[in-house]
């Protein structure tokens, strides 16, 4: 091959190549779609369906900002501004209405035989202290908690935005801080009274006679705690535990769970709270205005023997056998704490 020929071949080759490229390239360019493998809207919609979130990569250290969209927020919003208001409203107002009707029809449950003037000790000072510490905390927790759900509808129009925000701020602080003595109280209550709150046959009988709530002639016997009180005990212990656990998860946000977990935790906390409030309204009612001779059990720690005979006959028997029959003391109206 002469050099001239080599050059000639190279030239022809280059021209052919150039020709081929120039003819096909524009066609190829028209056929290339730069976004062909891009994420399609359909894919993203499918990811979102069923409450999923769309996540990506971020260069920010807080990896939670990698979530582009979390549609479950809308579902949670619908719960908090819809479902919860209904559940809470019906539970609490419903219970209040039931209690009002009960009081108007049945009235205060009186001691049939009248007061004997002799009393026996029902709760010692430690038990009373724990009860009142837990109860006071509960009341403040309930009010501050209900403020989050209902405050802006009920209180904000009355107080105005600045006062209401200031009140809500302090309510939130007290809610967070008082959770600790409340939780301790619930744990202690669990321990000191669990022995007397195990359900047994007497409770079945008590329930079957309606606890004497509706029929004033009935006085089903009970030990130290009747079936109604045992229900309150377990509501307090289990409900209180649920509130404490969900509450602390919320107080340390995203420490143990993700967004979906936090939303679920809040939903549980609020629903249990509404039911808890409704139940405690009944407990407060029966322990104060619902029954003559009931409050002093937790107030002074001693109860009238006739009250004990009518409502906790089996307990009274046990106490008498334990301490001896002549132990009942004549008590003046106010007794010093033991």
């Amino acid at each position: 091959m002469t050099r001239l020929r080599t050059y000639f071949r190279l030239l022809v080759g280059a021209l052919v190549l150039g020709f081929v490229v120039s003819v096909t390239a524009p066609v190829a360019a028209q056929q290339v779609n730069p976004t062909a493998s891009a994420v399609k809207e359909e894919q993203l919609l499918n990811a979102l369906r069923g409450g999923g979130a769309i996540d990506g990569r971020v260069s920010i250290p807080d990896q939670r900002s990698g979530t582009l969209i979390q549609p479950e927020g809308q579902a949670w919003r619908a719960f908090h501004q819809g479902t919860l208001l209904w559940v809470g409203g019906i539970a609490i107002l419903g219970m209040l209405i039931v209690l009002v009707i009960f009081y108007l029809t049945r009235g205060m449950v009186m001691i049939k035989a009248g007061r004997s003037g002799r009393t026996i000790v029902r709760f010692n000072s430690f038990e009373r202290f724990i009860h009142w510490m837990t109860a006071t905390c509960w009341i403040i927790l309930a009010i501050s908690g209900l403020n989050i759900t209902f405050g802006k509808s009920l209180l904000l129009p009355i107080l105005g935005p600045d006062a209401f925000a200031a009140w809500s701020q302090w309510a939130k602080y007290s809610h967070n801080y008082l959770s600790f003595p409340f939780t301790i109280g619930v744990v202690v209550i669990l321990l000191i009274w669990i022995a007397g709150n195990i359900p047994n046959k007497t409770d079945v009988n008590w329930v079957s006679e309606g606890g004497g709530l509706l029929d004033s002639s009935k006085h089903p016997p009970a030990y130290r705690f009747n079936a109604g009180q045992k229900m309150v005990y377990w509501i307090v212990v289990l409900g209180g535990a649920a509130m404490a656990i969900t509450g602390y998860i919320m107080m340390f946000p995203f420490y143990v769970t993700d967004m979906a977990g936090m939303q679920t935790t809040q939903m549980l906390h609020s629903i249990v709270a509404m039911l808890f409030v409704a139940a405690m309204l009944a407990h407060i009612y029966i322990g104060t205005m619902g029954m003559e001779g009931a409050f002093e059990a937790m107030g002074t720690g001693t109860v009238d023997e006739n009250w004990a005979k009518e409502h906790h006959a089996l307990w009274l028997e046990e106490e008498r056998t334990r301490t001896g029959p002549a132990q009942g003391q004549r008590q003046p109206a106010a007794t010093p704490a033991e």
Binding site: N33, G56, R57, T67, H80, K152, A165
Partner: protein
């Protein structure tokens, strides 16, 4: 009256984070708070897309709906703002926001959040426009000066558009027509019930 919106053209976003930096600097946003962030989907794979996300200034804002103290308000330009004086730091707005816009400085005990902070569309807060108090709490108020949000102004590829919805839609439409291929604006099908051929 203008209806303010953001639009991030995901076909143009190059993840330079100029919007993030501009916002941080302009409003002197404290450490740990990210009013605006750039999220990259399918990172490293074909069809990688980046989107700049901050507050979407929703019409029926979920954050406003769940706030226990009603600290949110919507301006005449449809910008969603809030009052840090009323905010109690409960964190509910973050649970409700689909876009993760609310941020908290996390000052205080336990997981205590402090006052919520978020993108203001460079429109400040309830304090007097351009005042020192407004700047300290919410950052600068560009809208009151007749300017648009700085994130969109600083965007290197003009993928992030901010301003009146009608005008933005017009710009975007011209773009899509000119470049001849798909809209990178997700939500098109959801909003307009028509699919875009890619």
């Amino acid at each position: 009256m203008a209806r303010m919106k953001f639009l991030c053209d995901a076909d143009r976003c190059i993840e330079c984070n100029a919007c993030v930096t501009a916002c941080k600097n302009e409003h002197e946003v404290p450490w740990g708070i990210n009013r605006r962030r750039v999220v990259t989907l399918n990172d490293g794979k074909p069809g990688e897309r980046s989107i700049s996300m901050a507050c979407m200034h929703c019409t029926d804002a979920p954050c406003a709906a769940v706030c226990p103290v009603n600290c949110f308000y919507t301006t005449a330009d449809a910008v969603v703002l809030h009052s840090k004086d009323l905010c109690i730091g409960c964190g509910y707005c973050f649970y409700a926001c689909p876009f993760g816009a609310p941020q908290y400085p996390r000052v205080g005990n336990f997981g205590s959040r402090g006052k919520m902070d978020k993108c203001t569309f460079c429109a400040g807060g309830p304090e007097a426009d351009g005042s020192k108090e407004e700047f300290e709490k919410y950052g600068s108020n560009r809208l009151a000066e007749g300017k648009l949000p700085l994130c969109a102004e600083m965007c290197s590829t003009k993928s992030l558009l901010a301003g009146d919805g009608e005008i933005i839609a017009q710009i975007y439409k011209e773009r899509v027509v000119k470049r001849g291929y798909t809209s990178g604006a997700w939500g098109w099908k959801t909003a307009y019930r028509e699919s875009i051929a890619t």
